[in-house]
Amino acid sequence: MKHFRSVDEAGPEAIRRLLDLADHMAEVNRRPNPKVPALRGKTVCNVFFEDSTRTRLSFETAAKRLSADTMNFSVSSSSVNKGESLRDTIETIAAMGVDAFVIRHKSSGVPWQIAEWTNASVINAGDGWHAHPTQALLDCYTIRTALDRPDSFDGLKIAIVGDIKHSRVARSDIRAFTMLGADVMLVAPRTLLPPDTDMPVVTELDDIIGELDVIYLLRMQQERMTESLVPSLREYTTRFGLTPERARRLPEHALIMHPGPMNRGVEMAVDPSELPGSVILNQVTNGIAVRMAVLFDLLGSGSNLEENE
């Protein structure tokens, strides 16, 4: 694999391979000294055109645990503010010698444009509303380990709840969960759904909550109200929030997931730390393992994970 830009582009075989590889990475991460020399001499550049501390830290940690060198490019202190074009920015950094770009951008499709301008690998750390494939990987990995489903998600009922229309997490998760065999349902008012989807849509969360294996809550952003997509956050919570009543109706084994950052009192109208099924912090932990897997898969060029020079 040259790039990791979307779940679809990677395909089911690569997704399974990366999840298996993440198991090894998780084992590395449990060691007292969680570091291997696998990517020594490789340089990974995090280019975040949009703020995202958690994703950037996760990628940086993943690269360092594989002994890669990391560079961080942040837009606020850069020449982008001096009118430099995206292409010139990328070509300039690439000229310093970069093996992989980790790209976050508010516009869908930027990782594809960037790949036209550099020979380095491009990892999509979130583009617009489009894709966030490492989030999908960590979500799959979290479900796989928490529900002990190493081979497939066949028969798992997963509801993705909330603002699917504007969510790159939802778009990537839908593809990845479906690829692994899960039955995915979308739960949202029509204003928060993509204009055209071939996924099953449920309009009342209460109709299905008792039969779910996973409930995946999306972040509900304040500005959706001013865009007339929902009348109020209060009404959103009433219809689609995880309230204590709904939490009680979830099956005992069901997982509660969220990509963060959470809006407490909105989509998460209950304290998740009091819910035994909450795996929200596991998601964060697993993020490092799956990102290590992606970096190693793209840059490891067949080297053994434990190999020393």
Binding site: S85, L86, R87, H105, S107, S108, G109, V110, W112, Q113, D127, G128, W129, H130, A131, R168, R171, P194, P195, D196, T197, D198
Partner: protein
């Protein structure tokens, strides 16, 4: 001026189709008939296997001068037009400054004459600065020879202003041309709203944004009696609305672009901004409806919406990149490759029908007959070819047709009695 003799071609004009040689002298067609022999010093143009037709007229070209000369100039745009078989182009008014005053109109016309490659007929804006607030001096501009008025790039959003514009225009013998797009429905939009945009995570550009304004303006035509030309139809429902308006006898005309009869929204899957255009590429069902609209005459004209953009602007992220693609040099090749229509009907949509809408029917789209102005196009309707970006006459390179098979290529263009293109190469 030395004459020209075009031999061996199949002449197609509004009177029909016939094998004939065409002699041109003194800027007019002097003789049409079989077996004409060259006179001394006459330039011989071989047209065997080719169609000889009145020159093409583009209702919709962005020549970018004044204001964005790094993308195109009137000279480079005129050269692209001549290579595409055009003898007349209507220059859209979204220049900087806007073509909303006689001085800017005169500037554009002068630059067109200086380039000397085709007639450049500036359109005027409906409102000052295309701001949608205050009417441009429509009568003053009409006196200066402007026939077509449009705020293209934007539609006139305010229904009251559009009604007033039509009422005022009704007595001036001019035509208002509308870019139909209700802006409130396309805020942030990047591509057609449908299955593809849902998958690609790109903000959708709903068909209804166009159709609402098509419908509104048809009803305003019904109310005021003033003619409206609807620019670049892109949806199946828009075609239906125009068809019904014509059946009611309303003075409504319409155009479609080569890209809306050949390309669909699925091309955005690779996130290339070459395919970002306003109105957006839509679905195959829409493409087929537009083709059918051209075939049954609902849509009068093929117009390019030639929209050059410098590479650095198109290389931005999709949501920031400007809309538009080149069209002048590929319109014929795309049209013949995409439309299942008699060649004569395609020529009608490229020549005399748009000439009538543009108000240039006294000079362009004329029958190929003695005494008529010698604005002619000679093209091979069967040759297959591909675009080579570096060979484009346009200053920009944003064509979506690289690698796609086109059919039909312009061989010679004659404008005001002299050749502007010979064997596919511009003469100046």
């Amino acid at each position: 001026m030395s004459g020209i003799l075009i031999t061996g071609g199949n002449v197609i004009d509004r009177t029909g189709e016939r094998r004939a040689d065409v002699r041109i002298a003194g800027g007019i067609v002097s003789e049409v008939g079989q077996g004409l022999t060259a006179a001394d010093g006459e330039q011989m143009l071989d047209a065997s296997g080719c169609v000889v037709s009145p020159g093409f007229v583009d209702l919709h070209a962005h020549l970018r001068e004044p204001g964005t000369e790094e993308a195109e100039t009137i000279e480079t745009g005129s050269r692209a037009a001549a290579k595409g078989g055009y003898t007349c182009v209507v220059a859209m008014p979204n220049t900087d400054p806007t073509q909303d005053s006689v001085s800017v109109i005169e500037f554009v016309r002068r630059q067109g004459e200086a380039a000397g490659l085709c007639d450049v007929r500036p359109a005027g804006s409906i409102t000052i600065g295309r701001q949608g607030q205050q009417l441009s001096p429509l009568a003053e501009l009409a006196d200066a020879g402007v026939h077509l008025f449009t705020d293209d790039g934007d539609g006139v959003q305010d229904p009251l202003l559009m009604r007033r514009a039509l009422e005022y225009a009704a007595d001036l013998g001019i035509v208002l041309a509308q870019h139909c797009e209700v802006k409130r429905l396309t805020e942030r939009a990047v591509m057609h709203e449908g299955h593809c945009c849902s998958k690609l995570g790109l903000p959708g550009w709903p068909s209804i944004a166009e159709e609402l304004m098509v419908h509104r303006d048809i009803e305003l035509v019904r109310l005021t009696g003033a003619p409206v030309h609807i620019l670049h139809l892109s949806t199946a429902r828009s075609v239906q609305l125009v068809r019904a308006a014509k059946a009611d006898g309303l003075p409504v005309t319409a155009e479609a672009t080569p890209h809306h009869i050949s390309l669909t929204d699925e091309l955005l899957a690779g996130y290339s901004s070459l395919y970002k255009v306003n109105p957006p590429l839509r679905t195959m069902a829409d493409v087929e409806a537009i083709r059918a609209g051209l075939a049954d005459g609902t849509i009068d004209a093929i117009a390019t919406d030639h929209a050059p953009h410098a590479p650095e602007t198109k290389e931005q992220p999709l949501d920031q990149a400007p809309s538009g693609m080149l069209g002048l040099e590929t319109a014929l090749g795309v049209s013949l490759a995409s439309l299942d229509m008699p060649v004569a009907d395609v020529v009608a949509a490229l020549s005399w029908k748009p000439a009538a809408i543009a108000g240039v029917a006294d000079q362009h789209g004329r029958p190929v007959a003695p005494g008529e102005p010698a604005n002619l196009t000679v093209f091979d309707p069967n040759v297959e070819w591909q675009v080579v970006p570096t060979q484009l006459a346009s200053k920009s390179r944003n064509t979506p047709y690289v690698g796609l098979p086109l059919r039909g290529k312009v061989k010679h263009t004659v404008w005001r009695g002299s050749a502007t293109v010979l064997d596919g190469v511009a003469t100046r």
